[in-house]
Symmetry: D2
């Protein structure tokens, strides 16, 4: 089979390729081992232990789920009561691009206006104060959890102090804090990042470490620093159809990703490549939507220029900006070739 | 890492190992191809086409989901209306071992007594006639679908004429027919089987071809012979958190499984090995629960004998039979070694 | 309008008439009072206080819902976690006649065989012991609540010691106990009853006092002896569409029903009338399904005789018994006229 | 019991009193009639026939539910598929004040900015065009229904031509149109209204005629002009816990409300009284939020003035406007006394 998409440069997303070769090698090496199912095998146990160690959280519950939407739904269902909803930025993945998965689980997504993909503590604080001041709030969905993504859907990052402010609001109003780390490798590796896995474990009620977009075939690792925050989480995973019979597949992948700092190094290269592209765009006078410190670069492009570029490069069209311009996205990944980056820059 | 479970014989289930080596090789070969996500890549398209061909059903919708419980939930939710439930044998997987996934989707599992894991058309017919004769049935959950598994949870098989009788009842009472083929390879390859993929496609409203228990790492292929039976099935998959970003993973696996008749040959060896074990048990005077034509063998064993055997073999304890006996299960799989079968037989 | 159903005797159910006249008078008297909505009015508060007093449970949360199915669904949803189901006798109202309301709320009804409509502690104990002994129970719906009805759907009664045994099992296995009192007036008033409202309040996590079938137009009073067993119950009621804007309607009715012992006296007459009918049936040689101590009488009747009787009396056909007999039910109510009872007995 | 709230003027809402006296009289007159349950009685049938006649829609399915939130949830669940959401103005009742009932049923409320409580066809058209133009819309909740309220939560009215434009968009994009008529009497009776019941029946897929806020104790009448738009609606009502055993209660009320044009005359008086109050506010220089043609008047009031007024009048505080002003609401109803209106005007 010839694959036409290989003939042109492709920066459309960060899940274009398969998996980091070390993962595939491990799959081969372990293929005929007879292992118990459902994540009870020793490799999964080892992977979980590595993650606990990286988070400096020896008591954490770690579970491997399969994809981002599923993980969001399972975690939100597990931490919220039926009368509670989840507060998210209007650009949050749960707000828009999960086909109603959160509502299908019975929970309202309570949106607040985001800023470059981020929820500010000021906006959150105003929303929460307003909600509880409303005389009729017993007739309304209670905010029960804050959903953030790190990095955000726009590649931007929360600082540690921003997360601490949001955590303080969560404490004040008795909300859980949940962080979606679908692209966490690219956050951890960013020069601008000051939020470590340890910080996430100390700030969040639950968060997940993304595999699918960070070098794995599939898989997201949920971390619940204090397991008493949920009950029978394993059975809830099963009920959501999110339990792998061959749990080894997740275990093997995360065991590799958390060996020799592979997870961070995967992010580092991609971030650097994205910075190269961003720098080139800037120096050639393009208008960035805002500077991105991770692996996604958003730029405002004249439509004529964009159409020209499309002949040689695949990228994402985000949305129209006025009649003549479009916001487009270039994404790098753990697998992006340096020669492709150079070629792209040559075309800009 | 040494794996203790390898030191003794293991016949506990059919998902102990990874994947057929051809699948792993294809993963390696295609790893750096840049492919679009969500099952829209050419390999997934090829796999779907192979399945349509095998089913002689060129117009079928084929979608790849991840595991059995998830597939059952998605298919049942997609075909039933809110006021309908699914009729299943009391031993059906959806009735007992899915942690309430079907009910979490809002649907009652309406159980009828099974016979060696099978639903007879007589029992089904009586249930349906009784339901519609009940004056109060407007206050009850309507049967909207029949759920069968082929082979059943006990390894038994429906004959083509049995399925035709059940189909006739479904037509008479306007129910959908859904067949769970988690272990379908072992049915298709059985000497006693007379139900082909083509038959399933002509009898069912929806069925699935199991990958996880039949040589794949993960994955089940849903076949909807007449796609107009559902609407926006893709979005419903996404809403259930069942859509793989890297759809290539499913595509690659099923493309291999449906090349060169691999899917059937995987089942054939396992079935033959199970028959060897069954024959040995019989000839040594053990009481079979009932004869099994596929890869699972159920036998009634004296508890003392069972405990002795447990020192050298892992198997499943199904349930107690009286005070002194237990029903146990031996399962073979695509990966079972002939030497292990011989060793087991030597120990019986 | 002429009402044909008045021309013949009607013993088909206990909700044929409107409401006890004292309720209608109170509706008239209070009609133009301007009262706050949603049950926050002083009459509702008075009614709740009367119920707390009758239950000797000053700290109880009391809420008025509208009908039985709704009340079951709200209470079960409020007390169960998503991974839990409710254990009920196979003849329990939640098992069969609520159109899947419980499953629509996401919870499985886990049925055990009933005996004359009752769940025995022996059967319950076996089920619970078996569940927790099953190695795979993490893949199954956990029993989280026991559902009983008092009187049962067959008019039979639990004794206090039977309820205490079931309570002990609930304590042992950490289950909630919920009692559906749709016809509670007829239990409380029965000569054979030894379970008081105080007993229910001390044994149950939640129960309800039925209004609709016991002299009210609509309405069921939910009692939660220890309000900390739920959270934001008011908002959950609203979410289920079960909150009356004009909460006064419920308040007025229960304020009357719990004044001057009206609730019990409503049950007493009906029970006595049912005993008259039962006695007459017995003395004329009819086979009772079992003796009933409350307002429903079940009798096995020859079909020819039944068809003759149908010309003059409306009753419920329960189910066929063999080819020639049918189980039928006569129900009395707070509104049954003594002359109708005499006329019925004359016809038997 | 003395009721303190009667000592001061009360314009806080339109459900302060019980029911129109004719309804109570009919309850008394029919109280001892023995009638079948669940809405199958002749009075309910008569009421449904009156409504079909008023809507000039002889084939319509008419069902009586109990309250507004419940009715919205049942209708939305009955008309939407799982992958669809309901489009509503951000001020729509389903968006904010139903405690997540719609999401608990699995459906997202897709909000668009409202204007004085109304959704304009321009805003709706833009939203729908944008949704279907989005390349990723298969990953999003599909708009499946438009929810409007007539009058709106702010007392404003859609004109017939506005509704026709919205209907045209619904036709173009295959959406259902649902109108919440919780206060429909006040719309039908308004001088500015040009939308009749017949128009609603010809424009909507489903709408409801509100009872609770328009003179009934409880009850809303759902009208489905083309019953083939739903399936087994009766069973779905039961499943939602929305089916009254004593259906007569709804039947009696709507039979009275649709006799001798009572429903409209109830609205007329209240509308006129609201206009008197609105006129007085205007003439005394208060700033109206916008002119209201029905029974709710919204005015911006200086906080000092408001606090003074609160000593003698109960009204609703809607929301703060700046630091010094508050938007407040006065509501009249079918039961508002002319002397109270005069007294209020005297105090303004």
């Amino acid at each position: 089979m010839t694959d036409k998409t290989n003939e042109i440069l492709n920066f459309s997303c960060d899940y274009l390729e398969g998996a980091d070769p070390r993962i595939l090698m491990r799959l081969l090496d372990t293929n005929l081992m007879q292992l118990p199912g459902y994540g009870l095998d020793p490799i999964s146990k080892s992977a979980k232990e590595r993650i606990r160690l990286a988070c400096a959280c020896p008591g954490a519950e770690v579970q491997f789920l399969i994809g981002g939407t599923q993980t969001n739904r399972v975690c939100i269902d597990a931490l919220l009561s039926p009368w509670q909803g989840v507060v998210a930025a209007d650009t949050g993945h749960v707000s828009v691009h999960e086909a109603g998965a959160i509502e299908a689980g019975g929970h309202k997504v309570l949106t607040v206006p985001g800023e470059n993909g981020k929820m500010t503590s000021a906006v959150l604080g105003d929303y929460l104060a307003g909600f509880f001041a409303d005389e009729n709030h017993d007739h309304m969905v209670f905010p029960g959890m804050v959903y953030l993504s790190q990095p955000t859907e726009f590649g931007t990052l929360y600082t540690k102090s921003e997360l601490q402010e949001i955590r303080a609001l969560c404490d004040q109003y008795h909300l859980a804090l949940y962080i979606d780390g679908a692209r966490l490798a690219y956050a951890l590796a960013s020069d601008e990042n000051d939020v470590t896995l340890r910080d996430l474990a100390s700030l969040c009620d639950v968060f997940y470490i993304g595999g699918t977009k960070c070098g794995a075939l599939i898989g997201e690792a949920v971390v619940i620093p204090d397991p008493s925050r949920t009950s029978h989480f394993f059975t809830q995973i099963k009920q959501h159809g999110a339990l792998l019979a061959k749990g080894r597949l997740s275990g093997i992948q995360f065991d590799e990703l958390f060996k020799d700092d592979l997870y961070c190094s995967i992010g580092r290269t991609a971030d650097m490549q994205a910075q190269e592209i961003q720098q080139a765009l800037k120096s050639r006078g393009y208008e960035l939507l805002f500077p991105s410190p991770t692996n996604q670069v958003f730029v405002v492009m004249n439509n004529a220029r964009m159409e020209e570029l499309q002949k040689s490069v695949v990228f994402s069209k985000w949305e129209a900006k006025g009649r003549d311009h479009t916001i487009i996205r270039f994404a790098t990944s753990w697998a992006t070739k340096e020669s492709d980056v150079k070629a792209l820059i040559g075309l800009l």
